[in-house]
């Protein structure tokens, strides 16, 4: 018997949509939430989860997405504040065991970790990657 996980994803942009497809096709139970009903067009035909239209700053909307049942909460809207607040509400109010927030502004990264959130910062991650390649290139060239 496969261990099916319940995953709530906030923000159905390119990243959110891709994650939703990935987990759904893998066989997990997925709810994806977005304020724009048109956003769900990015989902593939194989996506078999649920979609909820609404803003993640409203507790009622998070309830509707069954956040209280989630094993994992992933906030990847284009709004840092919304990602941070909804992930924190998922942890504290809905007792979700793990919450991940995407943060565009690197200056919020450390603070989010202090709040107990797992943070993904595309800017820091990309910078580190480029730096790694650059150092490899420079030192390799010597």
């Amino acid at each position: 018997m496969k261990n099916v996980k319940f995953i709530v994803i906030v923000g159905c942009g390119r990243l959110g949509g891709k994650l939703a497809d990935f987990f759904s096709i893998r066989g997990d139970f997925v709810v994806v939430l977005d304020a724009d009903p048109g956003a769900f067009a990015v989902l593939s035909p194989e996506f078999s989860g649920f979609t909820v239209v609404g803003t993640a700053s409203e507790v009622g909307i998070l309830k509707k997405a069954r956040t209280g049942d989630a094993d994992l909460f992933i906030a990847v809207t284009d709004n840092d504040a919304l990602n941070i607040m909804s992930a924190k509400v998922a942890l504290v109010h809905f007792s979700v065991p793990r919450a991940i927030a995407r943060i565009f502004d690197p200056s919020l990264e450390g603070f989010c970790r202090e709040l107990g959130l797992e943070v993904v910062s595309p800017v820091s991650a990309t910078a580190e990657r480029i730096l790694g390649e650059a150092v490899h290139f420079l030192e390799g060239a010597v």
């Binding site: 993640a56 700053s57 409203e58 507790v59 009622g60 709004n79 840092d80 504040a81 919304l82 941070i84 607040m85 909804s86 924190k88 509400v89 504290v92 109010h93 502004d105 200056s107 919020l108 603070f111 202090e114 709040l115």
Partner: protein, 221 residues
């Protein structure tokens, strides 16, 4: 009085600032929209910083380290949460206050450690309730972040409390009748004080007990 740092936007902001300045507070404003920040800088005699107040650097630039209080009055709950969370956890400001729009967020913000909140929606709906309930009811005042309410009402001929002693009233557990104004007299009632027609009575109650308290004292319209 101390200095207040406000991150905000929208129609109330100007009036809140003016009110605080007139009470002697030193106010610094952080406003995201450039046009709005220029307009406010012209209209108000306060320092206005144009920038994103949900970022630590902007808050530092606006002098958060010298602020005694931080108010988050933007039109987005998530921004208000982040401003207060940064102020408390990153900058050690003990006194923070957030405007909330989704009434359910009042309780959630408390759970997240944001102590002072004010729900615009709840305040407006309670004012509407109050107006539509009765002309004889007034001074609805939220206390302790809206967990208690304070209301004053006039006893009419059909009010259940009229002619009764205070101890005979069937008040809910979470309610107390605390003041009586009778003509020129202000009375602090005891158990054996008899309530009379035309008395203006003040009572406090747990927010959830408002309707039951009102009907036990004033009755239904």
């Amino acid at each position: 009085m101390g200095s207040v740092l406000i991150v905000g936007d929208g129609v109330y902001l100007k009036f809140v600032c003016r009110g605080l300045v007139s009470r002697g507070h030193e106010v610094t404003l952080v406003v995201k929209d450039e046009d709005e920040s220029l307009r406010l800088a012209e209209e108000l005699r306060v320092v206005v910083v144009h920038g994103n107040g949900t970022l630590p650097d902007t808050l530092k630039e606006a002098g958060i380290l010298n602020a005694h209080r931080v108010f988050a009055l933007t039109s987005h709950d998530e921004d208000n949460y982040l401003v207060c969370a940064l102020a408390r956890h990153r900058f050690g400001i003990g006194s923070t206050f957030a405007l909330v729009h989704d009434p359910e967020n009042e309780a959630v913000f408390r759970e997240l450690g944001i102590v002072g909140t004010f729900s615009v929606t709840a305040a407006v709906s309670s004012l509407i309730d109050q107006r539509s309930a009765s002309e004889s009811i007034r001074n609805l005042q939220p206390l302790a972040d809206g967990r208690f309410g304070l209301t004053e009402a006039e006893l009419g001929p059909d009010s259940p409390a009229t002619g009764k002693e205070l101890r005979e009233l069937a008040l809910p557990e979470g309610a107390l009748l605390v003041t009586i104004v009778r003509g020129q007299d202000a009375i602090v009632p005891r158990g054996n004080t008899r309530l009379e027609l035309g008395d203006r009575v003040g009572f406090i109650y747990l927010a959830a007990e408002y309707a039951r308290t009102l009907s036990a004292i004033v009755g239904k319209d």
